[in-house]
Amino acid sequence: MSDPNTERSGAPARGGRILVVEDERHLAEGICENLVAEGYRAESTGEGEVALQWILANEYDLVLLDVMLLGMDGYTVCEEVRKAGKQTPILFLTAKGSVDDRIRGLGAGGDDYLTKPFHLRELLARVQTILRRWDWYGQEAGGATLVRFGENEIDLRAFRGTAWDGQEHELTQKEAMVVKALLEAKGDVVSRDDLLETVWGYEVYPSTRTIDTLLQRLRKKFERDPDAPVYFITVRGVGYRFLTEGNES
């Protein structure tokens, strides 16, 4: 197992603090060395419980998470992180590569899934993509972290929203990212493919139905009548648009 207290850093300062949760010492060392060579800061642990504590106590830009771990399994770690309201991006890196395993990983709140043995270049590319996407999300959309539409309000930083009926809602990372992507379009239509590309980056989900389901969830949270939405509007056959003023017509 990797030394849990290991932290490696190196130039060039591409930035990004990455936690590698992997109980195979050689793999953890190899991954950390390569991340450091790419300019990231990397730490590693092989224990599920320790990983959970570290993720909750620190601000990582990305977590590479194995599934079969000592003590607590990777899926549970991910679920606990999301339950605690942390939206740190998580990339599952595991020998378990069946469709069921992938669905479980992504359902637990993972952002991406890579099976062992993997290509180093692919791993580095995925790391870069997730961090880029996270950077994009971190940039304020038109200076706004608070999005107000009608009597609703969404705090993109806190991943929370208050609906027209005063009810508080937690937003998943993907829901918040979709809101941001739609908001940046300033009322223009955003296609489903563009949303997938912007928010998911890789084709980890099998179809654009995922977007439809996610929009349904947003409507249920923030629309007075989810069947007749005025903010999250479907443009048939194309995609979606977000109208902060509402579509009363």
């Binding site: 050689h26 060395e33 390569n34 092989g46 399994d73 378990k96």
Partner: protein, 365 residues
Amino acid sequence: MRAALLWSRTRALQICMFLLLVICFAQVLWWFVDQRMFTAEVTEDALAHYQVDVQAAAELLATGTSASEIEMRFPHLDVANGHAIVDPAIVDGLSHSERQRVRRYAWEGGFFLAVLAMAMWILWQTIRREADLRLRQQNFIAAVSHELKSPLASLRLTAETMSLRGPADPERRATLVARMLSDTERLDDMIHKLLDASRLERGKIELHPEPVALGHIVSEAARELKERASERKVEIEIDVPHELEVLADPVAARTVVRNLLENAIQATAAGGGGRVTLHAHRTQDGVHLEVKDTGIGFPPNEAKRIFDKFYRPGDEMRRQVRTAGTGLGLYIVEKLMSGRVRAMSLGPGQGATFDVWWPEAGEDV
């Protein structure tokens, strides 16, 4: 997840069987009560019919008919002192017949229920064993997949690192090469275990016992695993007199000692480090080798199951030990020792002791 699904299906099947048994039991109980009521009714009907005859006999007596004539017409009645009553022997006969029928129904119902319960129990056990085997096979597949893919992934990663990062300095190159060799060794070890288990299963391994120096085998295994042990903060202590010679197949004995030591190191490492002691001594039934660790231990009731093929404690995803194997190491030990092996533990966290014994060389076998 699949394991949970498998268990929930098994549980559902078992619950269905239990419900079926309860329904059958209720049905038999109802049948028995119904038969009993029917038999009682038949007896009461017969007695009521006889009472009508008693009244008719009383009327005949009043008209002056003789007692003998009445007894001839109603053979089930006794006429004495100008009164007619139902013959007590007949009443007793009816009661006896009723009791006999009830007893027969009770036996028939009980027998039916016993057969049903036995059939259900056999089915219950079969389903449980089947589910257990499937779970162990799933564990095995998950473990093999992890144990093969992890060193493979590490090998590829190291090779790609060397290719991507260009020529490394000699020290760094030596580290990367050592990592690759260690991964290769792990793969090799894994494949050997799989092949050994397969051969043992097919009965393809022939053992040729000969005098073997136990101390030498133990030292050799400890030397091979010393680095792995110290990496995991496990100390190995050996107390095996050099003069001890056992009658064993040398290859099998080496495999047994190595597998036991590997298992003890893994269990100790999982507990955060500690000590593994190998102690050998003579007894009446041969030479015993005790491999004692201060590791994670196991529940005492698992002492036999621990040698089952594919056995690994708990869920395949929540690994109990750092380098959990395939669940084949102890299985191979048990097969090679033909049952001359025993596992003991006071419980989880209490360490474990594995005891194997061979005939002493020079003894009559």
